[in-house]
Symmetry: C3
Subunit: 299 residues, 3 copies
């Protein structure tokens, strides 16, 4: 599930190389990556929220430099933010995007599952489940404005939304878990199956495929492409179309469609946690992660 690293400047510089960030990358502004220690703080600035009171459209900007890794703090902040907007009667829609252009979200923070106790890993996984339940089950129109790379957990966030607009160009999206010897959970697999169909999803998950935006559009993994600088604007225009539909009928229709999967995860939550915990803390997987980290450093 996790491919991003929030470890130190050196690892990060190598990571940038992997993603082919040029020297003029906006990400140069974040040369050093620091682990975010603000746990359970919903007022953390790792997620920035703004809301247009007139239209009821909120924009949620992930702001966890350098690559919006989903560590515990970030998962907690996202969930708090989604629930707050859910309970805000004046809010009708949510656009999820990145404050850091070129990376939408690089996925779970791999350090959260590297050489950690089974209990720590279990708690981390539950935070991911809870965040996902609040986004996937939202009554709001949810739109992913994918303004950069979106592997693993980034793709998970996108799949949980109602509509996906992605930046044109060399950016990639996909569920590449198997590349790191990890296995996507059933609920994530199901959203992939739902969005691109069983056959393409089965293959994508087996080979851990990362797709360019063009290919992602062709597969239906994203719904629309736009130049990176226009992704937010295009998302706002799209949301306005959706808001022409009465909220209640649209939300009931959405829930009718998503309730079975939401219920399934709620029912199998502990089983899903145990599966992830047991698989992830296996020595062979820990070795895979170690090798991955060493490979990044060696570059």
């Amino acid at each position: 599930m996790a491919l991003s690293v929030s470890a130190g400047g050196r690892v990060w510089r190598k990571f940038c190389k992997t993603f082919n960030f040029g020297p003029n990358s906006a990400l140069k502004r974040f040369p050093t990556c620091t682990a975010n220690g603000r746990l359970y703080s919903t007022s953390s600035d790792n997620v920035l929220v703004s809301k247009d009171e007139k239209s009821g459209i909120a924009t949620v900007r992930m702001n966890n430099p350098p690559v919006n890794s989903l560590n515990t703090a970030m998962l907690v902040s996202l969930r708090s933010c989604f629930e707050e907007l859910e309970n805000d009667k004046s809010c009708r829609a949510l656009i999820l995007t990145s404050q850091k252009p070129k990376v939408f979200c690089a996925g779970l923070d791999i350090l959260e599952i590297y050489r950690k106790s089974p209990d720590y890993v279990a708690q981390f996984w539950e935070k991911l489940q809870d965040m996902w339940l609040s986004l996937y089950g939202s009554r709001l129109v949810t739109m992913a404005a994918i303004n950069g790379h979106s592997p693993a957990g980034g793709c998970l966030l996108s799949l949980a939304c109602d509509y996906r607009i992605m930046a044109e160009g060399k950016f990639t999206i996909g569920l590449n878990e198997t590349q790191l010897d990890l296995v996507a959970p059933f609920w994530l697999r199901q959203t992939m199956v739902d969005v691109i169909g069983y056959r393409q999803a089965e293959m994508a998950l087996m080979i851990g495929a990362l797709y360019t935006s063009d290919k992602a559009l062709q597969l239906g993994l994203v719904d629309k492409l736009a130049p990176i600088e226009d992704v937010q604007t295009v998302a706002e225009e799209e949301v306005k179309n959706w808001l022409k539909i009465p909220d209640q009928a649209r939300a009931i229709t959405k829930m009718a469609s998503r309730k079975p999967l939401l219920d399934e995860l709620r029912k199998r939550k502990q089983e899903d946690i145990q599966t992830f915990r047991d698989e992830t803390t296996r020595e062979s997987v820990q070795m895979s992660i170690q090798q991955y980290l060493e490979k990044l450093k060696a570059k």
Copy 2:
């Protein structure tokens, strides 16, 4: 579920405008729309049936001017007709089309759920369920010859068939229920998911999308396009191809595919009636319908 109006000349003329019918429209022949009062009459002329004895192909023409609104009488006639053909050993296939070019079927008659008692709405909904069960579960080759607009209930009828041929041009098809603050029932949603895939169906249902024939073909919502004057002929040719297959194996194969959904509706019939009745008779939905009717009149 309902978007059609069988109320009076003025409403109807405005409704035509909404659908962009030109002054030369064949529908000019039906300037006044009268509510069809023939309830439970299977010998009603709101459905015209002809059968070619040699080939065993029946053609069922919807004939409820001006726009083939599905009121109680129409639902009862359709069901009776489907069951009669089902039990006619010499019948092998059924082509469903409209006697009134430019509109295949405009959907449920909205007046059947406007300011009606809960019991009335419940009985109306059961008629729809029964009609759908007889068409979707038919042993016959069923082909929709969609010779005109096909919103809401028109799309429902099309989705229940085995194959869909639609008129080229500006005609539209889709499940636009949410536009009127209504929610498609689970069995209709499932046929949409089955035909165009989960992702496109979820989106189409949330935003109440109406698609042009070209877009519908691209999505797989219809299987073939033809000039409006050729839709019936093309349907007859297509049926002949299907009839080359032994009836029994084809019918068993079809049932194997459709039995789970048929059983699900049979099992949850009362629950589905209650859901529709409770949602539809809610004051906010009644207000939406009222506003919709007033908007039509105001045009």
Copy 3:
């Protein structure tokens, strides 16, 4: 389920005509078709296996002249072969292809269900189930190198693999069971639905469609086309890409996806056998088979 015939030279020559084999066909080498009497023999030469020890890639060549009909012996050999490779720790992938170019596999041997006792048919069907369970549920990367026609059981074998490469040209693939008054079992239907989607699968199964390679590619029924002489090479290249992914994560991911259907067949095995036995031994189906055989002879 069965469309192939291993009966005698005359029937076979007519069968070739049906498939448009030219006078220069490699199949000329097998002018007479003999029923393979080697039952339960895993050392039979009807399946040829070679393995590259370095890469761990095994190639399984079906070698049951003239058209790789799936009779009992062939089903038993295939299953033994799949299970042997499954248990061979050094084996990582399996390429399934035909030793006889122009026909990948012509499907179940129709003579195995023609005028046979119910018990014989039941045992035959169980052999098919067991073979399918071992291929569909394999931990290996499984790749179909479809170097020729692939109707009915040939399509079944292809659908059970992870990836399908098919020869360009006039070769066809599909589940054409209904053409012979037969019905595909639920597990085969489900793999078809999974691979090409519900709607296309429902239609394909109802009309017993055989698709050209081009159409099969467009539908997603196969993943890639190659000139017939390159199918094996392209398959080997593709496998190498898949083997870059850690085996364990890939195999767990595959099982997570396929376990529900595997479990369903295991659970309903006897019911599925009875259904096939009862349907197939019905006089009307036996007459259909007889007419089919007579039609072949009469050509």
